[in-house]
């Protein structure tokens, strides 16, 4: 059965369509994400210094183009004399690992529960959806802070926390799609052919909602990275001395008032580039993969 052919392309009469079509492939955002991913993978080779060990004699060096800066520390050093460039490079690894694993974890939980909820219906649906509604009512960042305050900070705890906070976003949308999918001919045929509920959910429903899950995932990537940075910024995220961008920002905040801009502006730029690219890519994917999500 050609499941892919089952996806209907909604004839859209709204003026949204033409304007959203404007960018074909967002080359620059994709390149930026690709470069950040490569930097994260090869951080060991690329970083000129150890990101966690600095020399106290070389504290607060400005970037090389400012007076007092040297090419030994291209982007300057922080309050412990650690090389900012190296920390940014290793920070890419933290952001990438946390961002992707959290999005995938949340996606796996949310998609599974969304499919179960939508397909089985009845009290299962009621229970899952009421929990989803309640968890959606908690502001994401606050909920994450609450969980982080309980379990204590570590990188993998943050991944689990972000997954727990954000699975509801997937479950909501996926359930809605499953509700309409399960009325379709191919699902009925599968029931007639004697497939079990689990087989139908796995073989017939899942392939049809995976596109939406990917779109939501891409759009969530930016949100997750900002949340991670916010948690680190507030001191309940990735613990020091790990070089996370949010943590660097928070450290840099102290010396902002004396004009040491590079300690907070540079990690912020990295976060912005990453999130902006993820959002642009997500917008494009949304239009490309799933016409039904255009209103999202």
């Amino acid at each position: 059965m050609t499941i892919q052919a089952e996806i209907i392309v909604l004839p859209s009469s709204s003026p949204e369509r033409s304007s959203l079509r404007l960018g074909d492939f967002p080359l620059i955002p994709a390149l930026i994400i690709g470069v950040i991913a490569l930097v994260a993978i090869f951080a060991n080779l690329l970083a000129p210094h150890n990101p966690e060990i600095g020399s106290l004699t070389a504290r607060f060096r400005p970037p090389f183009w400012e007076t007092g800066g040297s090419t030994k520390y291209l982007l300057g050093t922080d309050q412990l004399g650690r090389d900012v460039l190296s920390r940014l490079i290793f920070g890419a690894r933290v952001s990438m690992v946390v961002g992707f694993t959290a999005v995938i974890f949340a996606g796996a939980v949310g998609t599974t529960l969304g499919i179960i909820s939508g397909y089985l219906g009845g009290w299962v649906d009621q229970v899952i959806m009421r929990i989803t509604d309640t968890w959606l009512a908690l502001p994401a960042l606050m909920f994450a802070i609450f969980l982080a305050a309980i379990v204590g900070p570590s990188m993998w705890n943050i991944v689990i926390i972000l997954g727990l906070v954000y699975w509801t976003r997937y479950a909501r949308v996926i359930r809605g799609e499953v509700l309409s999918l399960k009325e379709r001919e191919f699902v009925r045929l599968a029931i007639v052919a004697g497939c079990s509920k689990w087989t139908i959910m796995r073989r017939h429903i899942l392939p049809n909602v995976i596109n939406s899950a990917i779109v939501i995932g891409t759009l969530m990537l930016g949100v997750v990275i900002i949340t991670e940075a916010s948690l680190s910024f507030l001191g309940v995220g990735v613990p020091p001395p790990e070089p996370a961008w949010g943590l660097m920002l928070s450290d840099g905040k102290q010396s902002l008032m004396v004009g040491r801009w590079w300690l907070s502006v540079l990690p912020g730029c990295c976060i912005m580039l990453m999130v902006l690219s993820a959002n642009l890519l997500g917008d494009w994917l949304r239009v490309k993969l799933d016409p039904q999500l255009r209103q999202l």
Partner: protein, 306 residues
């Protein structure tokens, strides 16, 4: 109508119940809550005393009963750091957060609505593209970073605005902008799509057929109607704003609820953290209920649908 409202209120109560279960469950399942409830550095005897005092040696359902009955009395526990009831502390900070959120909201509407209207008048034109850029930036920039850059430019380099604290209207400008930008982006998107919907409607076509000038059609026929969904969402967003301003309040040392939450984390003052999160969830659940009911009162289609 009565049936509909009854159902909504039922859902709301259920959500509040689930919210309390969630909070209760997470605190207990992730370890010994006694370690969170005692002050850092407490002795073993203290821990046992706390366990007994909070009933932590009792079965879970009894513990939940105790938890709920104290909640019902408005007792959210005692702050370790301030030595005052959490609720009192919360209420003393709430006005500051509301003040900041109100100004940020006004700012975001002032930016969001006009730019949304401009973008909708000519889809694909300069204002539309500009608006897209603006919203994308607003949604992608972490608000704490916007805050830090604002401090760097306006406090450190230019010296025009105070970098932190509260007191004068000058203190408000930067936090309100840092908080409002994200929402300005959301309001612009909403205004644009609401305007596009209205501009495609029959009565706008009729107004055009009558030969009314474009400006009158936009201002009088379209804008007024497009404003309804935008203002409704602004109401919800105001509540959300109060609860998401943690990082902005921390950056600018604004003495609101977000800052209280941050102090709760920093001082390991767990009752404060738990209280703030509980109230935030409850607030949003209740506002959702109010909005649902208001919609049903205004629009009969909604209550008939269910």
């Amino acid at each position: 109508m009565k049936q509909y409202i009854g159902k909504r209120v039922g859902y709301c109560l259920l959500s509040l119940f689930l919210l309390s279960v969630t909070i209760f469950f997470f605190v207990r399942v992730t370890g010994d809550p006694a370690t969170l409830l005692v002050e850092p550095g407490a002795s073993h005897a203290d821990m046992d005393a706390i366990r007994h005092q909070f009933g932590l040696d009792q079965p879970l359902w009894v513990q939940y009963g105790i938890f709920m009955s104290s909640l019902a009395h408005g007792d959210l526990g005692q702050s370790f750091y301030y030595r005052t009831p959490v609720l009192e502390l919360y209420l003393s900070r709430l006005p500051n957060s509301l003040y900041l959120a109100a100004v940020a909201m006004a700012l975001s509407l002032l930016i969001g609505i006009p730019s949304g209207v401009l973008a909708s008048v000519r889809v694909g034109g300069f204002w539309d593209s500009f608006g897209k850029m603006f919203t994308l930036l607003g949604l992608s920039l972490p608000s704490f970073w916007v805050g830090l850059v604002l401090i760097l430019v306006f406090s450190v380099y230019l010296g025009w605005l105070p970098s932190s604290g509260a007191g004068t209207p000058m203190h408000l400008i930067m936090p309100a902008f840092a908080l409002g930008w994200y929402f300005a982006a959301a309001h612009m998107r909403l205004t644009r799509s609401a305007m596009l919907e209205v501009l495609g409607s029959e009565y706008v076509k009729l107004a055009r057929l009558k030969g009314l000038p474009q400006s009158l059609v936009i201002a009088k026929h379209a804008f007024k109607n497009a404003l309804i969904p935008v203002l409704t969402f602004a109401g919800i967003n105001l509540v959300i704003m109060v609860n998401v301003s943690v990082v902005v309040e921390v950056v600018f040392a604004w003495p609101g609820i977000g800052r209280l939450l941050y102090e709760g984390i920093s001082f390991r003052d767990f009752p404060v953290v738990q209280g703030v999160v509980l109230i935030a969830g409850a607030m949003i659940v209740i506002v959702n209920l109010v909005i649902d009911i208001l919609y049903a009162v205004i629009d009969p289609r909604i209550r008939l649908e269910s």
